[in-house]
C-alpha cells in the first residue's frame, strides 16, 4: 500500500532476484557520465569487487546497424548515432587522406568561413 514490498514480496525478492554473496556478480553499476569540457574532475572510481560495470562502448562495433526493436522504434537520435558509427567504420582503415574531407572540399568557399 505504501509502494514498498510487503513481507511476502520481500521474501520472494530475496529468494528470486536479490544478488548476494553466493553470486559471482554481486551488483551491477552503470558508468557515471562526466563532461571533460566542463573541466569536471574525472573521478574514475574503480567498481568494487564483484560489481559488474555496464559498458556503453564495449560493443560499439555492433552499433553500426539498427538492432531489433520490440514495441518502441528507434529514435532519430539513435539513427543518427548508428550513421555516425557506420561513418567511423568506413573511415577506420583510411591512412592519410580523409574521404569525408575530399568529398566536401569542392564545396568550401573561404568567404563562408572567414
Amino acid at each position: 500500500k505504501d509502494g514498498l514490498l510487503s513481507e511476502e514480496e520481500f521474501n520472494l525478492w530475496d529468494r528470486l532476484y536479490r544478488l548476494g554473496d553466493s553470486d559471482t556478480v554481486k551488483g551491477v553499476a552503470l558508468p557515471e557520465s562526466h563532461f571533460p569540457s566542463l573541466q569536471e574532475d574525472i573521478v574514475t572510481k574503480e567498481p568494487a569487487t564483484g560489481i559488474r560495470q555496464l559498458s556503453l562502448s564495449e560493443w560499439s562495433v555492433w552499433q553500426d546497424h539498427p538492432l531489433p526493436t520490440h514495441q518502441v522504434d528507434h529514435s532519430d537520435r539513435c539513427q543518427h548515432f548508428i550513421s555516425i558509427i557506420q561513418m567511423i567504420e568506413g573511415m577506420r582503415h583510411e591512412e592519410d587522406e580523409c574521404s569525408y574531407e575530399l568529398k566536401l572540399k569542392p564545396f568550401l568557399h573561404m568567404e563562408d568561413v572567414s
Partner: protein, 74 residues
C-alpha cells in the same frame, strides 16, 4: 504486473527539490506505464540479442549490446 503508483510517486519525490510537489494520479499512471514499457523493451531486445546468438538465456553481455540504442530510444 507493473509499477505501483505509490512506488512511482516515491521515485519521483527522490528528485523533487520541493517535497511538497504533488503528482496527479494520471501523471503517476503515465509514468508507471512509461517505466513498464522501458523494462519490457529492454527485456525483449535482450531476448532478441540472445536468440541472434543462439542462446537460451539473456546474460549481461546481451543486454550490454542493446543498451546504447535502448538508452538513445528513451
Amino acid at each position: 504486473s507493473g509499477f505501483r503508483k505509490e512506488l512511482v510517486s516515491r521515485l519521483l519525490h527522490l528528485h523533487f527539490r520541493d517535497c511538497k510537489t504533488k503528482v496527479s494520479g494520471d501523471a503517476l499512471q503515465l509514468m508507471a506505464e512509461l517505466l513498464r514499457i522501458f523494462v519490457v523493451e529492454a527485456a525483449a531486445r535482450g531476448v532478441c540479442q540472445a536468440q541472434a546468438e543462439d542462446l537460451d538465456i539473456v546474460d549481461v553481455d546481451q543486454l550490454e549490446k542493446v543498451l546504447p540504442q535502448l538508452l538513445l530510444d528513451f
